[in-house]
């Protein structure tokens, strides 16, 4: 019953998406009253659809929770002996389930938009809902026609085949849902942009409606990427936090586009400039999240993280991708000419700085995109290449460095036009910090160029983030400004973590017999012993390490090399000690022969990664900044709405009073 209910709900949602699309589109006809009346159905259709799609996902969740082995998806991806939490998270640890989550989030955000948003002009809203319905319909078709999550097995399976052990981790509970909410939140920004474009309403009011959605999607993307990076860092046991892997790039590209969009939509809201540019970025951001879905889901690129891949479905997504991107670009081409140019501004103004960084972000996006797709391109000519850090790091840095410099200065400039001389003092301070930091590190030792530049820029950015507060009353600074400060400071913190991690990480790899000791970066690590251990669906060898630094009490570390038996696979579980100034990261490997005394040796790999945690703290700060900005904007908006309402009531009251006080005057008497 569960599966049938879920499937029925999904079909009904698809039907409602059609209704939403058609009635939204009919709402655009002004001339015909009867047709325009249909528009009334668009909003309820979106709301009910959201309810049904979420219900459908809930049904799948339920099937996984009780391990209903008569459903094919459950049988192929779950196992009755799996810990309960991983049974639940396993719902989206596979292709069909994750696409259903995608669609459920899409419908939910469409429903929220339809249910809550009252500021937009009704026509623009209709167009927006029509586009949203169209986007959703494509994905319903994809799910229902090519990847039905509720397919039954003719004979229920006796036992499930289990979930990839790398995915049996709490990271799976957090990473995909946050990332999907981010991806899909951008679809609302896309629909709004298309709606505004179709009805020629690219105005600051429209930007104010769009801004919270962009912020919302962007906060979740940031959180998703941060969580994913930390997950890969401790789960894969390689000690790296970013691999420039296609799947990682797939999440970075929408983030870059969304970051650019976020800033340009703010310019549009505040200054009525950058109209077409904002629309273009709205299209770009959603295209990138579609492309990301395509890259991850189609299996055209192999990757260390792509778990649920299927080449045939790739074609379907590619068609959808072409349809949406092509369609939106076509509308853009037709309509862009009719959007009047926004307000003018000079190059040295806050808008100028924002535009510069928008372009830099787009350039980095282009670098990442080309690097990600290049192996596909060369494969067509039968040359197999892989593109990695030696390409991405320097090529990205060429655009990232000017971007960070402008990011430090931009918020200090005034809108419209400004003279750099006005902020001479701040510029000198920042320049001194950068030069000072570079000189200091150069004196200390010989390090690669990029990390040194990164450190210097991080220091300058950290200070620059707080400079906009200069000359402001702290208590009267708007919350949105605090959001900007927090997010920019988060970028500095993150950059600092990345730079120190790449410049100062120390590593030790050795074959160690129990009882012997290794020294690394002031830490003393002793291997006390190695034992076999077992979990609910795995067995492992576990090392007992005691690590201490500077004469303190030893901390125990238990890295494991695990063997899962459903499916059969080996993974290594790293063990970490987190301190304020970094992390000690230990991995146990295989046996490594006997030492001189005939004791069994084990491979042991230890890293000391100074300030590596700052990378993720920075990510959290950036998200917090976004959340502060949303709260600040929404609060101001609600207050304004209330003020307007109060004003209207007062005016209405006054009109009534006036009416009551003075009897209706007759015609002015002729003189």
């Amino acid at each position: 019953m569960i599966a049938e209910l879920g499937l029925a709900a999904l079909w009904l949602s698809a039907a409602l998406a059609v209704l939403q699309m058609v009635s939204g589109a009919l709402g655009l006809k002004i001339g015909d009253q009867r047709l325009a009346a249909f528009a009334a159905y668009a909003r309820p259709a979106a709301v009910v659809q959201a309810f049904l799609a979420v219900l459908s996902f809930g049904m799948l969740l339920w099937a996984f929770a009780i391990t209903d082995l008569s459903i094919k998806l459950v049988a192929t991806n779950s196992h009755s002996m799996k810990p309960f939490i991983y049974k639940l998270t396993g719902t989206w640890g596979n292709h069909e389930g994750s696409m259903l989550l995608w669609v459920a989030v899409l419908a939910l955000s469409g429903g929220l938009l339809a249910g809550l948003e009252r500021r937009l002009k009704e026509r623009t809203m209709n167009a927006t809902l029509a586009v949203q319905g169209f986007v959703a319909l494509g994905f319903y078709a994809f799910l229902l026609l090519s990847s039905n999550p509720f397919e039954r097995l003719p004979v229920p399976a006796f036992e499930g085949s289990g979930l990839n052990p790398l995915l049996q981790d709490i990271g799976l509970a957090i990473h995909p849902p946050t990332l999907y909410i981010g991806y899909v939140g951008l679809s609302v920004a896309f629909s709004l942009a298309m709606g505004a474009l179709i009805t020629k309403q690219v105005t600051p009011d429209f930007a104010k409606v769009m801004r919270p959605w962009v912020l919302f999607a962007w906060v979740f993307l940031t959180l998703g990427i941060t969580a994913g990076s930390y997950w890969a860092y401790y789960e894969l046991g390689w000690g790296g936090w970013w691999f420039w892997d296609p799947v990682e790039n797939a999440s970075l590209m929408p983030w870059l586009a969304a970051t650019a969009l976020l800033h340009s939509v703010s310019v549009l809201a505040a200054r009525d400039a950058l109209r077409t540019w904002t629309i273009m970025l709205g299209v770009l951001a959603f295209s990138m999240s579609m492309l990301g879905t395509f890259l991850v889901r189609s299996g055209v690129l192999t990757s260390v993280h792509a778990f649920a891949v299927d080449p045939e479905r790739g074609t379907f997504i590619l068609v959808l991708l072409g349809l949406y991107i092509g369609g939106s670009l076509a509308i853009f081409a037709v309509r862009a000419g009719s959007i009047a140019e926004g307000k003018r501004f000079s190059a040295t103004s806050r808008e100028g700085a924002l535009v510069f960084n928008n372009v830099m972000l787009s350039a980095i996006l282009a670098i990442v995109l080309l690097g990600t797709l290049y192996p596909l391109l060369t494969e067509a000519f039968d040359v197999r290449v892989s593109v990695g850090p030696p390409y991405f790091n320097p090529a990205g840095a060429i655009f990232a460095i000017p971007m960070f410099i402008v990011m430090a200065i931009g918020p200090l400039l005034r809108w419209k036009s400004d003279k750099p001389v006005r902020i001479k003092l701040e510029l000198i301070i920042l320049a001194l910090i950068v030069v000072g930091a570079i000189v200091l590190i150069a004196v200390l030792g010989d390090y690669p160029v990029l990390p040194v530049l990164g450190l210097a820029l991080a220091a300058a950015l950290g200070v620059a983030a707080f400079l906009p507060l200069r000359g402001r009353k702290i208590s009267r600074t708007p919350l949105a400004t605090w959001g900007m400060i927090t997010a920019h400071f988060g970028v500095a913190v993150s950059l600092f973590g990345m730079a120190t991690e790449s410049a100062f990480t120390q590593e030790r790899l050795a074959a160690v017999a129990p009882g012997s000791t290794e020294e690394l970066a002031g830490w003393t690590v002793t291997l006390d012993g190695v034992d076999p251990v077992a979990g609910p669906n795995w067995t492992a060898i576990e090392a007992r390490l005691s690590a201490s630094r500077g004469g303190e009490e030893a901390t125990l570390l238990n890295p494991q090399a695990r063997n899962f038996w459903a499916p059969s696979q080996a993974t290594s579980e790293s063990a970490l000690i987190t301190r304020w100034d970094g992390q000690l990261y230990a991995v146990i490997g295989d046996t490594a022969g006997l030492d001189a005394d005939g004791n069994q040796r084990w491979q042991l790999r230890i890293w000391w990664k100074p300030f590596v945690t700052f990378i993720w703290y920075g990510g959290l700060l950036i998200s917090l900044g976004g959340i502060l900005a949303i709260i600040g904007r929404v609060r101001v908006d609600l207050r304004r709405r209330k003020a307007v309402q109060l004003g209207n009531e007062r005016r209405a009251d006054k009109a009534l009073l006036d009416q009551a006080a003075t009897p209706p005057r007759a015609e002015p008497e002729p003189v």
Binding site: L370, V385, A510, A592, Q603
Partner: protein
């Protein structure tokens, strides 16, 4: 208008830069026979893919450095040295992709090994090789039985 020109210039610059760096920095993939026929420059980052020759894995006395030989579709072989924890499914007679560079002595110094990381995953570069390998393996193991 100036804005559009600036944006276009920056994006085109990014594209050109990307194309140029990609030509220099893309990690080219070599099969053992390609590497013996036209070896890459010493120190250039490349990938070497093939099968781990049965019986060739030897761990050095330090316990963490491993020497082994990679074979391809022909008789040519490339010796590889790797220091580190071996991937879980790194076994003799199975596919491997080694990232690293060729040393001056003709030994390929691997900085990272990508092995099959579960039963269903084959490094993309090795997809064509697997059949050949299976045939070889079958031939090898059935010789004695007949």
């Amino acid at each position: 208008m100036a804005l559009v020109v600036f944006a276009l210039i920056a994006i085109v610059a990014a594209g050109l830069l990307a194309a140029w760096t990609l030509r220099n920095q893309a990690n080219y993939f070599y099969l053992p026979e390609q590497m013996t026929a036209s070896p890459p420059a010493v120190g250039q980052a490349v990938r070497l893919g093939g099968m781990v020759q049965p019986g060739s894995i030897a761990t050095l006395p330090d316990g963490v450095t491993v020497n082994f030989t990679v074979t391809g579709n022909t008789e040519s072989t490339v010796p590889v040295r790797y220091s580190g924890i071996l991937p879980d499914l790194f076994v003799e007679g199975s596919g491997v992709v080694a990232e690293g560079s060729l040393g001056p002595d003709g030994v390929f110094l691997a900085t990272n090994l990508l092995a099959k990381h579960d039963e269903n995953y084959v490094p993309r570069e090795l997809e064509g090789l697997e059949g050949h390998q299976a045939a070889d393996y079958a031939a090898d193991t059935t010789v004695g039985i007949e």
